[in-house]
Amino acid sequence: NANPAAPAPNSADVAKGGTLYILSDLSVQQLDPAKSQNLAITVLGLVHRRLTSWKIEEGKPATVVPDLATDTGRPSDGGKTWTFTLKDNVKYADGTPIVAADIKYGIERSFAAAFTGGLAYHKKLLAGADAYKGPFEGSELASIEVPDPKTIVFRLTQPYGDWTWIASTPPFAPVPKGKGTDASYTEKPIASGPYQVTSYAKGVEVKLSRNTFWDKGTDEARAGLPDDIVIQLGQQTDIISQRLIADAGNDKFAFSVPFVAPAQLAQIQGNQPAKQRLVTSKSGALAYVTLNTRRPALADPKVRQAFQYAVDKASYQIASAGSAELAGGIATTLITEGIAGREVYDLYPAPPGGDVEKAKQLLREAGHADGIGPLDFVVYNSNNYQKKGEAVQAALLRAGIKTELRVVDSEAWEALVTGNEGTYDLTVSSWQPDFPSATGNIQPLFDTKEIGNGGYNTARYSNPEVDKLITQAQSTVDPVEAGKIWAKADRLIMQDSPVVPLIYTRNSFLHGSKIGNFVIGGFPAYPNFLQVGLTK
């Protein structure tokens, strides 16, 4: 918790029962495991269990824990084969027992054209999955074996140490074989978690109630405290904050899904009761400036290194949330906090405000005594990125780097930076992995394979050495060993300076006065919905 003044969350007082309100800015609540991109600890986790899940504790890195499985998976064949065994007595909300075939079917289902859209890290890893079109055309995926109703075996294309994390992603939730054939499954999914859907009003609200067949004893990830949960959809972010600040009526039992915006953060700082109910993550997504290495102006590493000194991370902090405290600590590396393998180092030491002289000197050395630019700096128009871009722009200008901001719709931005052309010089964005492994920090952003074609290597950075390290680290089953390799890659990349790390973005959330156990761990920078309870 970022507020030393605030007392520790009143976890002692939380009790079973009551109705919890979740205020969401989204208008679609996806509850189909094949289509959901939810993290393991948010709404989807309330309804669906998976093979493994996450244990989130305050101030500690997230760890993987067994969920439906008895353990977190047993690798064999050097990490190419993984075996899981299901717990006894795990049942769906209709009372039928959950069997291994249902897990297999759930995963197969995610291959069907009708159910695209979810997390799909497993698709490239499962052997023979390239040509697989899902279970509805009559075929099964041979690389998933179900030798008996309690056992499930995955055969992968390559050794993959993080499979234990992959097994916590939504597609690894069970779907009774043969069910879920139509798109409306998302409105009435068959629950395996503590809650089931009682009503689903599109764009308005989703009501969850207890799944009586869920057994707390088999689940170490979920507390299942409230009796009922109401998810209010399509709420305006500012209004959510105002409601929670006002803390009236049912809003006492509510918390916010979207982050609290800077303006409200400022307001809350002056409001003692609300301030006690503001929870800020210790760390979070890496915010960074991308330098498009394929552009002539930025091709020279020396020029790119100048950016490391030219930026003003302090003003970026302020532009993001008003203060360093609320915005998040200064970043100098790529692997984010709360993830195994992270090493702290700083290749370009400078004060938070940057080292303009050093930057100028580097530029001079690179033959740009008069500065460079104007560079095409694209930013997208949500999450305050325009302001953040302006802060970066103003900082770069001090060192003679001229930029022109190009504001685009966030979808257009996505298409531009992940497209094949790559016609931009700079952009600023942030990145958070989908599961707490350094793979998620490095591979999507710096692997040569991820340039264009929808990949997020927006710096279009390509270094064969780095690519090799990535493959090597991914196939290392021992997390500690893998971590070391990732750390090496991290350093290597930073030497080439394709990106300028700015901060580890903290996220702030507000909750009502009757909410307890509202905890944000080291990773991810989101509250753990699964443990939240109401106080009496």
């Binding site: 698709k123 509805f136 798109a183 979808e411």
Partner: protein, 331 residues
Amino acid sequence: MRVLRFLAGRLAGMLFVLLVISLCTYALFALLPSDPARMSCSKPCTPESLALARGFMGFDKPWIQQYLDFLGGIFAGRTFGSGPTAITCDAPCFGYSFLQNATVTDLITARMPVTVSLALGAAVIWLIGGVALGVFSALRRGKLPDRLSMAFTLAGVSAPTFLLGLLAILIFGFTFNMVPVSGYVALADDPVGWAWHLITPWLVLAAVHIAVYARLTRTQMLEVLGEDHIRTARAIGLAERTVIGKHALRNVALPVVTVFAMDLGGLLGGAVITERLFALPGLGGLLIDAVSLKDLPLLLGITVFAAVLVIVANFLADVCYGLLDPRARVH
């Protein structure tokens, strides 16, 4: 006979306009760099998974073909995918939103009552309020009450809707705790709750629009008051109230009705900001979702629907002209 011919002509015109609008919307989407299938693409979004999503939704075809499919769907219905996972959308099918898992028609019908409640309620307030203020201003032209009413209504147009709404929520919702700040109650379930939940949004929306009506009424009123027939109305001994409220006002109606039809027609297609702010599940919210999620089928559906409303409203205004002012009849 003439009336029938006129109606048929207008109807053909409307259909043509709808065709143009929907065609342009499709063409625009083709222009956009973003891909409607992207929102249904898995994460990570590999080219293969994108192609899969595209194929299922029918976005892999050339846009003109997609457009023709859309038109065909209206008459023959559509089916997406095949086998047990196929999605059918019965005729008249105005598209299927893959992100919301529902036919566009269902989505729109579900949201319509909210938007209609919001728009009509607000319209009544701003029409009556605006015209009344306009008349009041005209009669006190140049005096302090005139200027004050102008400043008051202009504050409404000058302030962004968002700010007005936020302030209304903060003041009436939180500070005085007088009205609910969000949500919608169906009229049929609880008429009082319905009005109670809508009163603030109505006022906010009305505040945004009232100025145009007040100002138009005022200026037209001044125009009309100088005409000879007003003198006659006074000479037969009509009360000033009747002279103004009936004889002059009727002559003011033309521009006011025109603007009203446009505003109402536009609003029925969704009062975007107000609906979002007050968490009213109306068409505006749906439209914003469609835009930000690049939900092409939904967007097209709402666009066509909203366009129908705009066009019909304008048509009704055109019909009204002849009734309100016989000289304005188009022969």
